[in-house]
Subunit: 216 residues, 2 copies
């Protein structure tokens, strides 16, 4: 999966043959064959006898449960995703402020710190960022939210988050504000901070759309 993403291999494109991959990964051909089999079973690859192995969908159902990666207008679908997140996450954040235990709050604070650290050191923070938002969903203590939010937030993976890298200061500040409000059991504060956080991101997507730049 990492190889497919790092090399930007899209749906319909071919991956190198077994011996090339074997050399690339410094691994036996049977290991490569096993990996191909697993990714084929997950609907990522398709082996066409005689023609080679092709990427069908560069995301697993786990990474992209709503199958949003099938749309080509990445910026537009990113905007639609944010419109849904803005319907849900401010309210969820308010519920988390009402319902979080002290244990929950300490976990949210830790995740907030970890995202910030990764961010500031220039490392990939997306996975931890998703964990932060998922944890807040869990703290809402609404079991439907708990089922639903992972489906939505995971989709963030499928957009390469150009926005985030440009919003270092804003992300750190709004994440911190959300965490503070939840830890003070302040639902209105948590709602507003989440709105602000999502709005910065949404505005950045809009700028990209206006600039007609490609979000890849």
């Amino acid at each position: 999966m990492k190889y497919i993403h790092d090399n930007n291999i899209n749906s319909g494109e071919k991956i190198p043959n077994e011996s090339k991959l074997s050399a690339e990964f410094n691994a036996g051909r049977s290991t490569i064959r096993e990996a191909v089999k697993i990714l084929a079973s997950k609907g990522v690859l398709k082996v066409k006898q005689g023609a080679g192995t092709f990427v069908i969908n560069p995301y697993t159902l786990e990474d992209d449960p709503l199958r949003l990666s099938r749309y080509n207008d990445k910026l537009q679908i990113a905007l639609e995703l944010f419109d849904v997140r803005i319907m849900l996450e401010p309210e969820i954040s308010a519920l988390a402020a009402l319902n979080s235990t002290e244990q929950d709050i300490s976990e949210i604070k830790n995740l907030c710190d970890e995202v910030e650290k990764l961010y500031l050191s220039g490392k990939d923070h997306v996975k931890k960022d998703i964990e932060f938002h998922k944890k807040i969903a869990t703290c809402s203590k609404n079991r439907v939210v708990e089922e639903l939010i992972p489906l939505i937030i995971s989709s963030v993976f499928t957009f390469a988050n150009v926005t985030h890298k440009l919003l270092l200061k804003e992300t750190i500040e709004t994440h911190r504000a959300i965490t503070e409000a939840i830890s003070h059991h302040d639902p209105a504060g948590a709602r507003c901070a989440m709105i602000m956080h999502l709005t910065y991101n949404r505005q950045m997507i809009l700028k990209f759309i206006e600039g007609n730049k490609d979000l890849k």
Copy 2:
């Protein structure tokens, strides 16, 4: 599936043996065996050699994609589901008022009429009711909403909708108000009418919880 629901056979309970079902349905035993196989493959039934055939989960993943039927506190989970619907559907209804074409509006009106007719004649309206809400989601023209709403609305199936039967007048009036507002391209009206519709239902669930009655 209909037999399991009509006879209220819950998870862990046994269904009658082949010959009894064969007589019940006036069908050959091979037909019964085929039906059992299909429901076993969908995770509804489990055949235990020598012991009989048991219901594992009375809903397919299609009917209950969020697997909410696994929770036993039906009223509480119904309330949590409505809390999520109230976050999403008023905004979706407003989007539908902005983005519906004339063709969309005519389809929404038809569904509204059909639900009303089924309701007034005392027939099962749930399936059409779900279609009505799904159609509004589609008219939002937000593709994430379109993926998400079916997952949420389908869950309504898993609660036997005691509330709906008690809310005949309110449901008809609010469905009509939602339809009117969308057809007049009035987003605020559509938002408010949807809030009212969901609120009647939510209040009824609360009454049941207070009365400690069982929603089955």
